[in-house]
């Protein structure tokens, strides 16, 4: 296979994937845009979601995601750093933790939903709440996030570590000032994957954050996530299709926003670290 054919194959397959994506997106746009308007974004749902808007649903979704991210990012980064940098003394412990995480990453989301319902909602008494939903999602995205972040940390060029040691930096500050910033792109990639998975989640949320489509008054209130709303409108509410597609469009916009925010935060973080270093 010549160089030219190889690059042709690469371009073609990228184009093909792009085309399929545009097809799906086009389908959603075509069916969703007629129903989408500013008032759709800012009003309460009426008539089981067929009319009215999705404002409370957007707020609930954002709160659920915030809980999930606020819990899983510090926790996950900690574990990833331990695996990548500290775990040498306990090889066995590290490898069994890795294996455990790989298994957890594969546990079906619906099982997390059932687990979250039994553990957070009932056992810990959090009930159907945004808190339960966010914690369940945190459990779900944690293994994926840890493993990608760890991969990112391990991939940092080893001469950087040698340099840090040579400068007499202790391990903690070397990690904070050198390793984490240089692994940031991989960490963000992991976070984006996690957020994507969390935002798109239906099965785990029906049983934990629930079905109530009213404006949540607190984190202990039940709140319906966008994906649950879309599922209900398309599979359970007759005549809800156009509202479902409009909600799907909104969800996609939310994800773009999240990605850009994550990207901007890393850029800023990286910029500061480089300046200081």
């Amino acid at each position: 296979m010549s160089d030219r054919i190889f690059s042709f194959v690469i371009w073609m397959s990228a184009a093909f994937v792009g085309a399929v994506f545009l097809w799906i997106l086009g389908d959603i746009l075509l069916k969703g845009i007629p129903h989408l308007s500013l008032s759709f974004l800012l009003e309460q749902p009426e008539d089981a979601g067929r009319s009215g808007g999705i404002f409370p649903v957007i707020v609930s979704t954002a709160l659920i995601l915030m809980v999930a991210v606020a819990v899983s990012v510090p926790f996950g980064l900690g574990v990833a750093v331990w695996l990548a940098e500290f775990s040498q003394t306990g090889r066995k412990a590290a490898s069994s933790t890795r294996l455990t995480l790989d298994v957890l990453a594969g546990v079906p989301s619906i099982v997390y939903g059932l687990f979250g319902n039994a553990f957070f909602s009932i056992f810990l008494g959090l009930g159907f709440s945004i808190f339960s939903g966010g914690l369940t999602l945190a459990c779900m995205i944690l293994p994926v996030f840890i493993r990608t972040a760890e991969a990112g940390l391990s991939a940092v060029n080893h001469s950087w570590r040698e340099g840090a040691s040579a400068l007499g930096m202790n391990k903690t500050s070397a990690i904070w000032h050198i390793l984490l910033p240089s692994a940031a792109p991989a960490i963000v990639a992991g976070l984006i994957l996690g957020i994507g998975r969390a935002t798109a989640e239906t099965a785990a949320l029906i049983f934990t954050s629930g079905y109530v489509d009213r404006m949540p008054g607190s984190l202990m209130d039940s709140g319906r996530a966008l994906a649950v709303h879309i599922y209900d409108l398309s599979m359970n509410v007759t005549g809800g299709d156009s509202a479902a597609y409009a909600s799907a469009l909104t969800l996609i916009a939310v994800i773009i926003t999240f990605n850009m925010m994550a990207q901007a935060m890393t850029d800023q973080w990286l910029g500061k670290k480089v300046q200081r270093a």
């Binding site: 991969a151 798109a200 969800l251």
Partner: protein
Amino acid sequence: MILSKHSFLSRLKANRHGTDGIVSAFLSVLAGLSALLLFLVVLFLVRESWPVFSRGGWHMFLSGQDWYPLEGKFGLVPMVFASLAMMTGSVILAVPFGLAGAIFVRFYAPPVLARAYKIVMALLAGIPSVVFGLWGLTILVPMIAHIQPPGSSLLAAILILALMILPTVALTSLAALDAIPRNILDGAQALAMSRKGQILFVAIPAARAGIIGGILLAMARALGETMAVLMVAGNVVQNPDSLFAPVRALTANIALEMAYATDLHRASLFASGLFLTGVVFLLSWLAFQASERARYRSL
């Protein structure tokens, strides 16, 4: 491999009793907690599926081909095969396209296209499975039904799953490719290797640990996907003897019946969740062994 040769030498040195000791202890507690999560999940699954073990035992899952819980028939085997067939098929499709996408972004695309492609991948990763399912049900399934009814089939599930796991493969492969130290690629370039040669014989081998990790993640995701599969696969409990045959995945089975199930039925659904976790465990363990072997070989 040349790459990881330093990994022992260049570990950061820790001062055991200062900040590093505290941080290390704290982080290992976090790691322990994360491992505890699996224990909790499994414990919970076992507790809920206990009636099955105390009354029927595993043999009733493995003996029959029939799944009629209301009539006391709990044959899981066809669903196990269906789940595995979906996973295998979708990975076979998604890996070449995902890898090609990552190579495209890393080595071929002009910056604007590369950025666009990354956004596309992030979006694909974030489209809820129910939207994929909706698209599959209203567009893909009728197309397949045109070739051979009923349309809801193993094939439809494989195609939708391949789309869903593609970003996982692409993004993780891309991260792995991005992490290759510059000097290695520069070296290849200095040797006047063709671009194809650089990619196939230097970049991909150097990034293979990350790529394999991504593929395994994708496999697990395909195995665990619920809503989209439920909507397009047809959900008939039978062995997947043809691409056009409607089949039911283990996860779809849980989602379809859990809300309504009681007693032994409910317990048997939890048992199938336990079984699924077991399969994932086995897969992870095999992959783990493979990567450990690869690590030793490379040292």
